[in-house]
């Protein structure tokens, strides 16, 4: 049981087969909405009152404005002012700037959070101070939980960089432009009530309508929905660490040696320093070999945009936009396509894009000798990252974890991960600065690089682990408490692991 709901433990990849019908919001009718299409109300408090927000309800927000978001706290504080208690806050991810949600939990406005937590919110959870259990889901898992009714959203509050009075909303224009609004898509369809909050009201029609006004109850205009400097970075920076550059280059060389980098291929890499550098190395190799990708998956940055503009990929299928070049590109280039967790990651769809991607480059905090990986907790058990799309991406043809072999003396390759976030059978390659470990299950990849006779440092994962432990010493295992404070869900909604209170 988690927060009063029965749970199914993880049964294995592809083993759990849910039955029944998907959830749906209550029936609504045109007659209850103004013929003029004007759904504006004075402020968030009014909107939440009209939504019928009550004690114990579920309120949702989204992280497309990232650390620059002001709307989530605005909504939660408005809820506090109208005297509502014990809400379940259901953000698609939380950010350090939302630290004051702790205050709202202390005051009883928020009962608990189901969504990624890190920084101060993560500590609050792992110190066992939250009243309910944290539930960590992937982006796809969040969509799945909404679709199968595990989470019913009473009120969704969606921040919109541009919107019209009807509630059509777009993320790619306006002073607070962020690119995409895909993380709010499920909420807009399945929540009972949907509020759009904008600081850039456009005359009807607001196009493109990434969020359809036909799903929206109320529109609220505010001075500012976010801090533009923290929404997207002006420029994304490639790592300058020689060790990390080496990792990035090894990843690119591996894709070439394994024959994955070929005409019409596809890949996904995030916006971390190693991932960005990987894209630059891969780009040089694609040019040298005359290879072109069919599509690349975002989070987009200027580096992916350059691939598109230089004709090295036909499309960017984007999930979120990390810098200004990405925002400009998605606003202007029809080959830069907005996607959502529904198209890309959702478990209850009839397929999704993640398994169509040839190679994905991800990070992790730990990986064990069986290739199981942890992305949510630090080795000492503290919550460090959300799952994001990480679990969903594991379904790619070749999943590569690119990591330094140790951080601050702490080895990254361990006997057993602190928190299982990704099963080892889904993880194919671990690339560190000291060598590349291929999962023994992937005999095809081992064979491919052997045939190429590549000079790549391919090594058993145990070898790399032993070398690092020789340098760093074998770390003691930190003592974790025996009280659960959060669970990690697998993409199908089963419980993969538990996060324990940190002593």
């Amino acid at each position: 049981m988690v927060n009063g709901k029965p749970q199914i433990p993880f049964l294995g990849v592809g083993k759990y087969q849910p039955r029944g019908r998907k959830a749906a919001p209550a029936i609504c009718s045109n007659k209850d909405y103004p013929d003029s299409g004007d759904k504006r109300v004075a402020d968030l408090e009014t909107a939440l009152r009209k939504c019928g927000l009550r004690d114990g309800m579920v309120i949702s927000n989204h992280h497309h404005l990232r650390d620059g978001d002001k709307v989530a706290l605005m909504a939660l504080e408005a809820a506090a002012r109208i005297g509502v208690k014990d809400l379940m806050w259901f953000p698609s991810a939380s950010f350090p700037s939302q630290e004051s949600a702790i205050h709202l939990m202390e005051k009883g406005v928020i009962h608990h959070i189901e969504g990624s937590m890190n920084g101060p919110l993560g500590d609050y959870c792992t110190q066992g101070r939250m009243r309910g259990m944290g539930v960590l889901r992937s982006h796809g898992g969040r969509y799945q939980a909404i679709q199968d009714g595990e989470v019913h959203i009473d009120v969704a509050v969606i921040a919109a960089p541009t919107a019209d009075f009807f509630g059509n909303a777009d993320g790619s224009h306006g002073k607070s432009a962020c690119g995409l609004l895909g993380f709010a898509l499920a909420d807009s369809i399945y929540a009972d009530r949907v509020v759009v909050v904008t600081d850039n009201l456009a005359p009807f029609p607001c196009v493109p309508w990434q969020i359809q006004g036909n799903n929206v109850d109320f529109v609220v205009e505010v001075e500012s929905i976010g801090d533009p400097e923290k929404i997207v970075s002006g420029t994304t920076q490639i790592t300058r660490s020689p060790d990390r550059l080496r990792i990035a280059e090894l990843v690119a060389q591996f894709l070439r040696a394994a024959g994955i980098m070929k005409n019409g291929f596809s890949f996904q890499a995030g916006a971390g320093g190693i991932a960005l550098a990987f894209v630059e190395y891969l780009k040089q190799m694609m040019k040298q070999d005359g290879v072109k990708a069919r599509f690349v998956r975002g989070g987009s940055t200027k580096f992916l945009v350059e691939l598109l503009q230089e004709g090295l990929t036909d499309y960017i299928l984007d999930g979120q936009t990390f810098d200004l070049d990405g925002v400009r590109s998605i606003a202007n280039d029809p080959r830069h396509v907005a996607t959502s967790p529904f198209t890309s990651y959702n478990y209850h769809g009839k397929g999704n894009f993640a398994s169509l991607v040839d190679a994905v480059v991800l990070g992790a905090t730990e990986v064990d000798v069986n290739f199981n990986a942890n992305v949510v907790t630090h080795s000492d058990g503290r919550l460090l990252h959300g799952i994001g799309g990480w679990q969903n991406c594991l379904f790619a043809g070749c999943t590569i974890l690119a990591l330094p072999s140790f951080r601050d003396r702490i080895p990254v390759i361990v006997d057993e991960v602190t928190t299982m976030t990704g099963p080892g059978e889904m993880i194919d390659v671990v690339v560190t600065e000291r060598g590349i470990a291929i999962n023994p299950r992937r005999t095809d990849l081992l064979h491919a690089v052997a045939v190429q006779g590549s000079k790549l440092p391919i090594r058993p994962i145990q070898d790399i682990k032993a070398e690092v432990e020789k340098i760093c010493g074998k770390p003691a295992r930190p003592r974790l408490g025996d009280r659960p404070c959060a669970v990690v869900k697998w993409v199908d909604g089963t419980v993969l692991d538990t996060v324990w209170q940190v002593s």
């Binding site: 020689p242 060790d243 550059l245 080496r246 080795s379 000492d380 951080r407 601050d408 003396r409 702490i410 600065e433 000291r434 340098i471 760093c472 010493g473 770390p475 003691a476 930190p478």
Partner: protein
Amino acid sequence: MSSAVETTYPRSAEAGHWGTEVRSDVHVAFEARDSGGVEISLESRVAPYYGTAILEQTRGVLSELGVNDARVAIHDEGALPFVIAARIEAAARRAGIALGKRSLPEQHPLPPPSQKDRLRRSRLYLPGSEPKYYINASLHGPDAVILDLEDSVHRGEKDAARILVRNTLRTVDFGSCERMVRINQLPLGLEDLAEVVGESPDLILIPKVEESEQVREVDRMIGEIKTRHGIIRPIWIMPILESALGIENAFAVATASENVAALTIGLEDYTADLGVVKTAEGRESQYARSRVVNAAHAAGVLAIDSVFSDVADMDALRRWAEASRAMGFEGMGCIHPGQIRVIHEAFQPSAVEIEKARNVVAAFEEAQNKGLAVVSLGSKMIDPPVVQRALKLVERAKAMGVTS
């Protein structure tokens, strides 16, 4: 070292670094006491994993240093054990304790001895007080690493850096890299030798050499320490000429000892000595560099170029390195791992050169087999120096891995 006896020491001292910006280092505050035993306090970002190990190591190091009564406060930023040991020893010595004593970490097996004329295309500078760069340095594939005690180490940090470099030579696996140490200008450099030579570095760089006697002095001291430690493997010398006078004495310096394996030039100081601006084209140092190349070849040692200081401009580095090879240099210094590949490519013979050399070598071998004194290739007769050059080029290309 003899002056140490007369120096009065504080009862407490510190060594190392800590703070949010610091990684892989440790700060040790040491306070000598007359009684009360050893008291250790530890703050570490890796405490849950290594707290116990650090405390245990600290007690071990103090005991090796003969310290029975002291208060030691450790702020650790994820330092590796060889760094922790070096910082404790440095702090204790600064407090006037444990003079003449050492705490040597467990030794990593020494790599094979280095050859006098080995490949030295690139040598990566590692500042002597920045331990975070050491562990992964060899992964970037330079021919050599230089643990630097001179310009990259602050005057007040020389004593601590020396101990750190000693521990590094002893414990860090630099793979197939040649392990070089740049000591300080004499006479300070002699104190560096006293600390590091016992750990069998492969080569010592002597900065600001102007007279052959300076090389001989270093050579003598290395020889004495080697004898004392029973070291038989070679420790080569690379003098750095950094002044007009040094350049004038290039040949004498290069021939000062049989242990001189290479001769190099330091352009920052050389251009300063001349009072000219150092440019990316290097016309102002053309003469000096040519002189170094000529003297080195005359002495039968490698001519090695200076460093290229703009780490962002890879195109200019490539132009410099290609010109450098064309002048007769066989390598240059790197101040960033990113420079290594460009330098290796620039110092690598082209496919056409290798092909020509291979043909010459084949013709030479054929002549040898037939017992002919004259080597000919097609209609051309090949002179012995051409054969020698071709043999050397093929051998170098093999060492670089560009041909088999």
